[in-house]
């Protein structure tokens, strides 16, 4: 019984035999039609004098390392087709994303499984090969006999990625659609890992990837990307698309990105944004990046100092976006000035009708919007804060700086 696998490097140049065993030509390329079948090779192209000929998968009887045997010789000329993924042209030597290994890799070779389907052999893509073994195979192909290469390569450790974990990078959005390339694999990755991948790609590919993703996932990934690349990506997108993504980002991060852009571009994008996030971002844009105002977020939970625990919990409930990372509740007086703060767990653990003032709120520690960022970091260190309210000239809360902003700030230095 023959081995039930074949490599793309072996397939290319493999002889194609007609009904009576005559050689019709050699394989020049193989193609997948993703909308028809995600892993089955749909057609082979064989070299001809003036044009290539197309062999459809159902015309093939037998496939092995020794050759391909057809049971139908009615071959049609090859025409370029945008909905076809050609393995030699579009995949081999190109970069793809390994969603499981969370990195960008270059395709050295492709491994097929030979499967029997309704009486004839078909090729199923199983793995994309990277690493030394596939480099050796590529270099030796055509120099040494195919079987000898298989024997020799077994001494080198294999390095492959399952096809199901691979995501192709296709800059052309039209073609992406035709090739049925989904971003679901990528969107499932952790934003920080995805950000590393985005940073590794070329600008064109970055733009393509971010455009293809859902705005929410794109925003999450983008917030983890280096600031200069962030600006580059946002700049390259259509204003409307950029606005969609920025709306999903935290306002302070969105403001930082916009602050790094040219005036004209950032205004264009602001124009496309919805009113609520736009107002927040515009407010934040007033402050310099290296001040408390530039660091803070305008979203926070504040309740009146005379409120009860139940009111505090209701206030948290009304801001679902904040709920995940919320640590601190601010208390204000009648004029909206900050009068104290407490961990969010206190009203949660207290009986609903307890007055917040009875839960011994802490004396407020605040920063002014124009305080230097380094001063803010000092305060966090000194008082072991998780969240610091930032006040304006009238003493009202303008926003809050959280510990993750401080970590980002310190890392940037």
């Amino acid at each position: 019984m023959a081995e039930q696998y074949l490599f793309l490097t072996e397939l290319l140049g493999l002889r194609v035999h007609g009904l009576r065993g005559r050689v019709l030509g050699r394989v020049s390329d193989a193609a997948l039609v993703p909308v028809v079948h995600p892993v089955r090779i749909d057609r082979l192209f064989i070299g001809g004098a003036f044009t290539w000929l197309t062999v459809r998968q159902e015309q093939v009887r037998k496939i092995s390392i020794d050759g391909i045997f057809l049971d139908d010789e009615n071959l049609t000329p090859f025409y370029p087709d945008e909905s076809v993924l050609r393995l030699e042209q579009d995949l081999l030597d190109q970069q793809i994303i390994d969603a499981q290994g969370r990195k960008v890799v270059r395709v050295n070779d492709v491994t097929f499984e030979i499967v029997q389907e309704a009486g004839h052999d078909v090729l199923m893509i199983r793995e994309v090969d990277i690493g030394l073994r596939s480099v050796f195979r590529r270099l030796a192909q055509g120099v040494l006999p195919r079987r000898m290469i298989r024997r020799l390569q077994s001494r080198i450790a294999p390095n492959s990625i399952g096809w199901e974990h691979c995501s192709i990078i296709e800059p052309d959005p039209q073609r992406r659609l035709r090739l049925n390339i989904s971003t679901s694999l990528i969107e499932k990755m952790r934003p920080a890992d995805l950000a590393d991948i985005v940073e590794e790609l070329s600008p064109e590919d970055r733009e393509a990837l971010i455009t293809a993703m859902e705005p929410e996932a794109a925003a999450e990934a983008l917030s983890e990307v280096e600031p200069d690349i962030q600006a580059q990506i946002i700049e390259s997108l259509e204003a409307e698309r950029a606005a969609d993504i920025l709306e999903e980002m935290d306002p302070d991060e969105a403001a930082d990105v916009l602050g790094d852009l040219e005036d004209e571009t950032s205004e264009e994008i602001l124009e496309e944004m919805e009113d609520a996030p736009k107002a927040e971002v515009e407010e934040l844009l007033e402050y310099d990046e290296n001040t408390a105002g530039g660091l803070m977020n305008t979203e926070f939970v504040a309740v009146h100092q005379d409120a009860r625990a139940a009111d505090a919990i209701e206030a948290v409930r009304s801001q679902p976006d904040l709920a995940d990372g919320l640590t601190t509740i601010f208390l204000t007086d009648v004029d909206g000035r900050l009068s104290g703060f407490m961990p969010v767990t206190r009203p949660l653990l207290a009986r609903p009708d307890t007055l917040l003032s009875e839960l011994s709120p802490e004396e407020p520690v605040t920063a002014h919007v124009r305080d230097k960022a380094s001063r803010v970091a000092e305060l966090f260190d000194k008082y072991n804060l998780l969240s610091l309210p930032v006040v304006d000239d009238e003493g009202r809360i303008a926003g809050a700086v959280t510990a993750d902003d401080i970590i980002a700030l310190l890392r940037r230095k």
């Binding site: 890799v105 270059r106 990277i130 480099v135 590529r138 790094d260 005036d263 310099d288």
Partner: protein, 413 residues
């Protein structure tokens, strides 16, 4: 408003770096020797070649940095994607061989320049190699680049020592623009050597990768172009002063052959310790600088081209091939300097031959790539630029082939 002003400043500083560094490293131990020899033997006569050398350098460097900025991909990446694995593999193998001998030459430069200060090579070379390794592996990109930029500033040593020698400025000025051709085989060999060593394959790979690493975009490219041009001119200015120093100090006393760059430094001794020390310090700086950049650039280029993980921000386990290659180049490059009786001169000649064989391929691939509409969009070469580029490439290839012939002749002699 404050932020916007900073944005433009940032763009300027963001692009300063790669082009300048590449051009300066071109004046490594080998380059300094070639220029010293030219000045010592033929006085001011060879100065005119610096102008065409500058133009050749600008034309080739500009194309690389443009490709880097527009495609966001390194030269080895592009060659891999457009010309396949096998071509890339052979180019990379040749590059490693050529650069290994370049690294040897530069560690030899470190050794001999410090021996002028009375330090034994058995101490200095191991120290220098460990220092180089630690700097690259443990240093962040930003810090390493700052150190590199500082190293380029130290090339001022040559300008000062050139002035201290009090050469004949009038003659230097005249021969800078008056081409002198003599049918003296030694003179022609020297001219070919000067041009042949000025454009090396590794520079193209390094520059393009550095432009990509820096994140220069097509939009900011205008700044990059200026930087490349300024860098190439600065490189020629340094070469000018090296030739002038040797012409003034050695040739005007007695025209003679020198055997290495330290001979040139010794020749400067009668003109005061300052000139001598500065020349030696310059040689040390240039050698160490090149010994840093060459192994790093080679490992990056090879790993990217062949699809292995690369980069000093990865761990040894993630990028083993990168680290082995990098460490091996330094260890072997420095190690052979400590072997008594190692045929270093022959190795350097061999390196010129390999470089010479590789260069035509690199240059032709570059022009083919830079003219691909699909990659370069509107930034492809204009017809006029193409004409200039092809002429430059043909001239370079012609001179390089001549250099190969000369090197082979010297090797078997």
């Amino acid at each position: 408003m404050f932020r916007r002003a900073r944005y433009h400043l940032a763009v300027f500083f963001a692009v300063i770096g790669p082009g300048f560094i590449t051009a300066m490293v071109d004046n490594d131990a080998g380059g300094i020797f070639t220029y010293s020899q030219a000045g010592a033997k033929y006085g001011y006569l060879p100065l005119w070649t610096l102008l065409p050398i500058t133009i050749l350098l600008i034309v080739t460097q500009e194309m690389c940095s443009r490709m880097g900025a527009v495609t966001g991909k390194g030269l080895s990446d592009l060659i891999r994607e457009e010309f396949g694995l096998r071509t890339t593999f052979f180019m990379m193998a040749a590059l490693v061989a050529a650069n290994l001998t370049n690294v040897m030459a530069n560690f030899a430069g470190v050794a001999s320049s410090l021996e002028l200060f009375g330090l034994s090579r058995y101490v200095t070379v191991p120290l220098a190699s460990v220092a180089v390794w630690l700097l690259i592996v443990k240093g962040s990109y930003a810090r390493v680049e700052k150190i590199f930029l500082f190293a380029t500033a130290l090339y001022v040593c040559y300008i000062i020592s050139g002035v201290l020698v009090k050469p004949d400025w009038k003659e230097a000025a005249i021969y800078s623009v008056r081409p002198v051709l003599m049918l003296d085989p030694g003179y022609i060999t020297m001219l070919i050597g000067m041009v042949g060593t000025s454009v090396a394959p590794w520079m193209q790979f390094y520059l393009q990768a550095a432009v990509v690493e820096k994140g220069v975009t097509a939009k900011e490219y205008a700044g990059s172009r200026i930087e490349v041009i300024v860098g190439c001119i600065a490189m020629s200015v340094i070469a000018f002063f090296i030739i002038v120093a040797c012409a003034g100090a050695i040739h005007s006393v007695k025209p003679q052959d020198i055997n290495d760059a330290t001979d040139a430094a010794l020749g400067l001794k009668p003109f005061g310790d300052a000139a001598y020390l500065l020349f030696s310090a310059g040689l040390f700086n240039a050698s160490l600088f090149a010994a840093c950049i060459l192994p790093l650039s080679t490992s990056y280029t090879v790993c990217e081209g062949l699809g292995f993980e690369a980069g000093v921000n990865r761990s040894f386990r993630e990028a083993p091939i990168f680290y082995w290659l990098f460490t091996g180049l330094i260890a072997i490059g420095a190690g052979v300097i400590l072997i008594p009786g190692f045929p270093l001169v022959r190795m350097i000649l061999a390196s010129q031959v390999i470089n010479g064989i590789l260069l035509p391929f690199v240059l032709v691939f570059m022009i083919l790539l830079v003219n691909k509409q699909r990659l370069m969009k509107k930034w492809v070469n204009s017809p006029f630029y193409n004409a200039v580029a092809w002429v430059s490439v043909v001239v370079l290839i012609g001179l390089t082939l001549a250099l190969i012939a000369i090197s082979i002749r010297d090797m078997i002699r």
